[in-house]
């Protein structure tokens, strides 16, 4: 042993010098690289100081998956105001306060086509607008786009009725003749609407596969496909043909897809992002506030139970007393905390985040299990009853919500029988469900959401409800009628809304204009953003 020790000692000196040298060289190289990189960055920053800055936005994949391109919008039925506002401009623009003003259209008004009020609308395009491929936006190009959009099979295509007609009148005027009335057309055709008013170039309309890898609109930026990595990083550069160059405030806009909210927060703190959206994940909100970031949130949807009267296996839900009992049996604040503390708030309104919601509904079904039991007894179910509840097994929050709802309904004598489905499609294809939880996206365009063609609408059997809907859809100012309809719906408990779901944004001081409150409900538009 002694000999080995002495050998080790003898051998120590030479290698030690080598290790030290290697370590020294490695550290020096690293420091050199860092210094070079930092110097390079500083030089680049100094050069760019005079030029426009880059805007970097963090988004979770869950938010981005719907916004790949406008061709998907008709199919997915999802809106992505910020992403679309980069590459696409709209006929009208909704200001943060809800006022709708002309953008690509200088004016718009209803006319009577002879088939009824609010079925004819005409608008005039402004001059000098070009798509990102350089072709001009004319009435003919707009009509081509409207015809293309109408032929898609998505959530918004029923809004104008079957076979709406679009006609170019001269070079700049377009006339729309609908087969159903629409009373808020300028909003529908706006940048927070249903994308009817967001034209794409004739080349893309003629060949929709082009939408896959390019932006085809008249917006201030266009996608730089050469440096973008789908599902990871999307780089936008200014559209050289944009009609209002003064509105382009950034040399580049980069959208980084960052699935982890903690990574988004770190990137914001490191100065790599200007602002970020973390969907409804509130796990990092406290840390973001502590880091001095502005935390913005706006309700973006709601958790609801659909009490489906049409299920053939039971008639219990046709009894309004049973439906009311379910509503009284739910402790909404507790359930909201259960699925997502911080990002969720109790709600009883079908559209808890829109201008037609009424705060007075909130107290309509205060948690009262004793009253729920009494109502069930009154309905003839004093011994309780069993209901099926369809839920999507892959959604963890659905399972959590189910467990909470099941526990509270069990306390009043209602046993829930969960039926697991792998997807909404399998639920739709099986009419045998009674009750389901959904993560419903609330739309500004509630009129389209409430249309009879919506797959989750379960109440058309109620003729009074239908009459209220038809009255509202034809009204010049529909808000009072919508409220009346929703109040009736709420009282009847067709939808039992449990809680609203909030979207959360973290904003650094480097950017202004991220305002998600107000009637636009979470819409952030690129031209409203500017460097601080």
């Amino acid at each position: 042993m002694r000999r080995w020790t002495s050998v080790n000692r003898r051998a120590r000196s030479a290698p030690t010098v080598h290790y030290s040298l290697v370590a020294l060289v490695a550290v020096a190289s690293l420091v050199g690289v860092m210094s070079t990189a930092s110097a390079h960055t500083r030089t680049a920053t100094a050069t760019q100081a005079a030029a426009k800055p880059t805007l970097r936005i963090g988004l979770p994949y869950s938010a981005f998956q719907y916004y790949k391109n406008i061709a998907d919008i008709p199919n997915s039925g999802q809106s992505g105001a910020l992403e679309l506002s980069l590459g696409y401009s709209s006929l009208f623009h909704m200001e943060p306060n809800g006022t709708v003003v002309g953008e690509l259209a200088s004016s718009g008004s209803y006319f009577n086509p002879g088939t009824g009020a609010q079925k004819g609308f005409e608008f005039t395009l402004i001059h000098g607008v070009r798509f990102s491929d350089g072709t001009p936006l004319t009435a003919a190009a707009m009509v081509d786009y409207l015809d293309f959009y109408a032929k898609q099979v998505g959530g918004y295509q029923g809004l104008f009725g079957k076979d709406p007609k679009f006609t170019a009148v001269g070079k700049w005027e377009v006339r729309m003749v609908l087969t159903v009335p629409v009373n808020d057309m300028e909003t529908v055709l706006s940048d927070v609407g249903d994308f009817w008013g967001t034209p794409a170039s004739p080349a893309c309309v003629a060949n929709p596969t082009l939408f896959t890898n390019a932006t085809c609109g008249t917006g201030p930026y266009k996608l730089d496909t050469a440096v973008s990595v789908p599902n990871s990083s999307y780089v936008y550069v200014p559209n050289p043909y944009y009609y209002d160059k003064a509105a382009v405030k950034y040399s580049r806009v980069i959208e980084d897809i960052i699935p982890e909210p903690a990574s988004e927060l770190a990137a914001l703190q490191a100065g790599q992002l200007n602002f970020a959206y973390v969907a409804s994940d509130s796990s990092t909100v406290s840390a973001a506030r502590s880091a001095g970031l502005k935390v913005e949130s706006a309700p973006i949807g709601a958790y609801q139970l659909l009490l489906n009267e049409k299920d053939p296996s039971t008639s219990a839900l046709t009894n309004s007393l049973v439906r009311e009992a379910i509503s009284y049996a739910l402790d909404r604040p507790a359930l909201a905390q259960l699925v997502g503390p911080g990002g969720y708030a109790e709600a009883t309104d079908l559209f808890p985040v829109t201008d037609i919601s009424d705060p007075s509904y909130a107290g309509h079904f205060t948690y009262d299990p004793a009253k729920a039991r009494a109502l069930l007894a009154q309905a003839g179910y004093s011994n309780g009853l069993t209901l099926n509840l369809a839920l999507i097994e892959a959604r963890t929050q659905d399972q959590t919500m189910f467990n909470g709802v099941a526990q509270e309904l069990k306390a009043v004598g209602i046993t829930l029988n969960p039926i697991n489905y792998t997807s909404p499609s399998s639920i739709f294809s099986n009419a045998g469900y009674l009750l389901t939880t959904i993560g419903n996206t609330t739309q500004v365009q509630y009129s389209s959401w409430l249309s009879a063609g919506n797959p989750v609408t379960t109440w058309p059997a109620d003729s009074y409800m239908v009459s209220l809907y038809n009255k509202a859809i034809r009204a010049t100012n529909p808000v009072p009628d919508w409220r009346q309809m929703l109040q009736y719906e709420s009282q009847e408990s067709y939808f039992v809304t449990i809680c609203s779901v909030s979207g959360i944004w973290y904003v650094t001081k480097s950017v202004q204009g991220v305002d998600v409150t107000g009637p636009r409900i979470g819409a952030v538009l690129i031209n409203e953003l500017s460097p601080s």
Binding site: Y19, V33, T36, T212, S232, S233, T422, S423
Partner: protein, 317 residues
């Protein structure tokens, strides 16, 4: 009949790779099909039943799984790995675009793993004593710390606190070598910690075994200089185990890239695979899994060739 044993090993490896690729691709396809995530829900979150049926038909998802796999296999054999369901991007193009990022992560990690891991193992074995115990303790720490946690801690200090390195993102080597290096430092450190610990521990054990062997004792007795004994006799013999373990660690790194690329938002194959798996994007999942399998076959081949270089018995057996 191939007489050269090295060539024979290469041919045998390549021959075995064919059924391996087939089995892996079939298993991957089956498991992806059984996953609860339905790509139709991703593409049509609020779609009508008719839309679901139409899209399922367009994507071929209304066919039995074995028929879907057969179609995929036939096209793959023809060099067509398909198109992403969610982005419309060709899978081959996706791999070409994302592989350099993963390579940028794995290659420096492998270099660091061998340099630091083998170096620490050698130092620990040669010096023993306090230095050896310190290195042993550090390797234990390396075993205990999960990469994602290490990544988060590194980011919070180097990116958030002192703003020295970026928290997320990737800059290509061609675009700016300096920024590329900066963007890779934290991910490489996070990814290499465990492999370094494994390499150090294995190298130390191997070195200790060799140093205790008869021929090394004879070398000491014959007055051969320590440097020759340590680096020519002991390390060369110990390197067989280091190469074996290193090969396995490199394969393990491919799994590690999935986590590290997510934490640091690197647009590589690992994050691409994670996204594809979570959205039910079967063509992308298949393409990346098969590509990773090919890489693993290549790594095993390289390890076999290194055996031949390091051990004359392999060349002649």
């Amino acid at each position: 009949m191939v007489r050269n044993p090295v060539v024979r090993v290469v041919v045998r490896r390549l021959y075995l790779a064919v059924p391996l690729l087939f089995v892996v691709s079939a298993l991957s396809f089956l498991l992806s099909s059984l996953a609860p995530t339905n790509v139709l829900d991703v593409l049509l979150p609020n779609g009508s039943p008719a839309q679901y049926v139409a899209l399922a038909h367009r994507l071929g998802l209304d066919q039995p799984v074995y028929e879907q796999y057969w179609h995929w296999l036939v096209h793959a054999l023809g060099g067509n790995l398909g198109t992403s369901y969610t982005t419309g991007q060709g899978v081959k193009a996706l791999i070409v675009q994302r592989f350099p990022v993963t390579l940028s992560l794995v290659v420096p990690t492998v270099v660091v793993m061998f340099l630091v891991g083998v170096g620490a193992g050698v130092v620990s074995a040669v010096h023993g004593g306090a230095v050896g115990r310190l290195i042993d303790s550090l390797t234990l720490v390396g075993f205990a710390l999960p990469a994602f946690w290490v990544g988060a801690v590194l980011v919070s200090f180097f990116a958030v606190k002192i703003h020295l390195l970026p928290a997320i993102g990737y800059v290509s080597l061609a675009q700016s070598p300096g920024d590329w290096a900066r963007s890779m430092v934290l991910p490489v450190v996070a990814l290499s910690l465990l492999p370094i610990a494994v390499m150090a521990r294995q190298t130390r054990e191997a070195m200790m075994d060799v140093l205790a062997s008869e021929h090394v004792r004879m070398a000491w007795a014959n007055g051969i200089p320590p440097r020759v004994i340590f680096f020519k006799l002991a390390l060369k013999n110990a390197s067989m185990r280091a190469v074996t373990v290193g090969g396995l660690q490199v394969i393990g790194l491919l799994t590690g890239t999935v986590f590290v690329e997510q934490v640091f938002s690197l647009p590589g194959l690992g994050s691409g695979l994670d996204t594809a798996a979570s959205t039910g994007d079967l063509p992308v999942t298949q393409g990346i899994v098969v590509f990773f399998t090919v890489v693993i076959v290549a790594i095993n081949l390289i390890v076999d060739l290194l055996y031949a270089v390091l051990d004359p018995r392999v060349r002649t057996s």
